[in-house]
Amino acid sequence: MEQVAIQFVDLTLPNVVFLLLVGFIGGLVSGFIGSGGAFVLTPAMMSIGVSGVIAVASNICHKFPKALVGAYKRYKFGHVDIKLGLVMAVSAAVGVWIGADIQQHIKLSYGEAGSGLYVSSAFVIVLSIVGGFVLRDALIIYRSGNMHAEEQTSRLARWVQSIEIPGTMIHFKTANVRISVLFTVPLGLATGILAATIAVGGFIGVPGMMYVLGVSGLVASATELVIAFVMGLGGTIKYALHGLVDIRLALILLAGSLFGVQLGAIGTTFVKPYVIKVVMAAIMLIVAVSRALVIPVYLAQLGKMSLSVKTMALLKDVSFLFMIAALLTGALIIVGAMIRGHRESVPEPEPQQPALK
C-alpha cells in the first residue's frame, strides 16, 4: 500500500450523531447475523467527506472490537464454536490477501471504474445467488409451520459430513459436526476473498457454514464474529502501519455499534431460528439491487455505454439510499421479531381469584 497524503475530516456534531446512529444499526445487524453493516459504514463515512482509504481503515478498526464484544456475548449464550471460527479465520486471512491482490491487479489494469465495476458485479452475482438461496430456505421453513424445529441439514452438508479423509478430520463441538479441514479451507478462502472485495465476508461465511458444513444458523452467525474479529484485527494492523486509521471515527462508530451488537446478540435468544435467515436474505437482496444500480455508471465511465452526468449522480444517490434501506430493513425485522419473541415469552397473567368473603 502506498503512503497517501492524509486528509482527516473536522468532526461536527451532526456528523458525530449520524455516525453513532449508523454504528448502532450496523452493530445490531452484526450481533444478530454475524456480519453486515460494513457495506454501509464505509460509504456513510465517505458521505460526510472522509476519503475512501481512511473510511475503509477506520471501519475495519471499529469492526474487530465490535466483533470481539459480540462474540463474547454470544459465547456466553453457547452459540460460538471458537475452534471452527479460528480454523475458518486462518484460511480467510489468506483469502483476504488473495482478494486484495486481485483487486490491485484489476485496478492497475482497468483503473478506478474497472475496479468499481468488478466490486459491484461481485456484489450482485454473489448476493443474488446466495441471498436467493437463503430466502428460499427461510420460506420453506416458514411454510412448513415447524419454525421451532431444529434446522434441517442440507443434502450437501450431509455429504460433506459423510466424507472421511484420514488425518484431516476435526470435531467441532459446539457446531456438533465432524468434518475434514479440506472443506473448511475453501470456504474460509471464499470468505476472505469476498471480505477483501465487498467488505462483508460473512455473506459467504455464514451461508457456507450453514449449507456446506451443516452448522445451525445460530452457531454459524455467532462463529462468524470470531472470523470477523481475526480479519478485522489483521486489517487494522495493516492500515495502522500506514498511519491511515482515524481513531476518532473508529471510536465514534464503536460507541454506537457496541449498544447495537449487544442488543442484536440478545435478540438471537428471543427469535425463532429461521428469522436469522430472513434478515440475512433481505439485506443481501436489497444490497444486490443497490449495487446493480451503479453498474451502468461504471460501464459509462469505461466508455461501454453513454449516460449523462446527472443520471450517473442520480443512480449513485439512489444506490446509497438502497444500501441504507437494506440496513434499516434488517434492523426493523430484528426489532420486530424481538418484540414478538418477548411478548410470547411473557407468561399470561394468572386470572384473579374472586376474593373469599
Binding site: 503512503q3 492524509i6 482527516f8 478498526c61 471499529h62 474487530f64 472490537p65 465490535k66 470481539l68 464484544v69 463474547y72 456475548k73 456466553k76 449464550f77 453457547g78 452459540h79 419454525m147 421451532h148 445460530l218 484485527l233 487494522t236 494492523i237 495502522a240 502501519l241 500506514h242 498511519g243 491511515l244 486509521v245 482515524d246 481513531i247 476518532r248 473508529a250 471510536l251 464503536l254 460507541a255 457496541l258 449498544f259 449487544q262 442488543l263 446478540a265 440478545i266 438471537t268 435468544t269 428471543f270 427469535v271 425463532k272 431460528p273 419473541g341 410470547e344 415469552s345
Partner: protein, 79 residues
C-alpha cells in the same frame, strides 16, 4: 430501584467509558498526531486503544441493556 439490577456497575463502567471519550476529544490534536505515526511502536496505538475502549464501553453497554430489562432468554435461544 430494583436491587438485582447492576446500577453500580453501570455507573462505574459508564464513568470510565465517558472519561476515555473525553480524553480522546480533549486531546484530539495530540491523539491524531500520535495515532497516525508509522515509526516505532506508534502503529500499535489504534489497535490497543480500540481494545481498551471495547472493554470499557462494551461493559457499559452490556449493563445498560441489563438495567433496561432487556436480557437474554435462558438456554440457547432459538425461540
Amino acid at each position: 430501584m430494583e436491587k438485582n439490577k447492576p446500577y453500580l456497575k453501570l455507573f462505574v463502567s459508564g464513568f470510565v467509558s465517558a472519561f476515555l471519550y473525553c480524553l480522546l476529544f480533549v486531546y484530539e490534536k495530540e491523539v491524531m498526531e500520535a495515532f497516525t505515526r508509522i515509526d516505532g511502536l506508534y502503529p500499535a496505538l489504534p489497535v490497543l486503544t480500540a481494545l481498551v475502549f471495547s472493554f470499557a464501553h462494551g461493559a457499559f453497554t452490556g449493563y445498560f441493556w441489563d438495567v433496561m430489562g432487556i436480557r437474554a432468554r435462558r438456554g440457547k435461544g432459538g425461540g
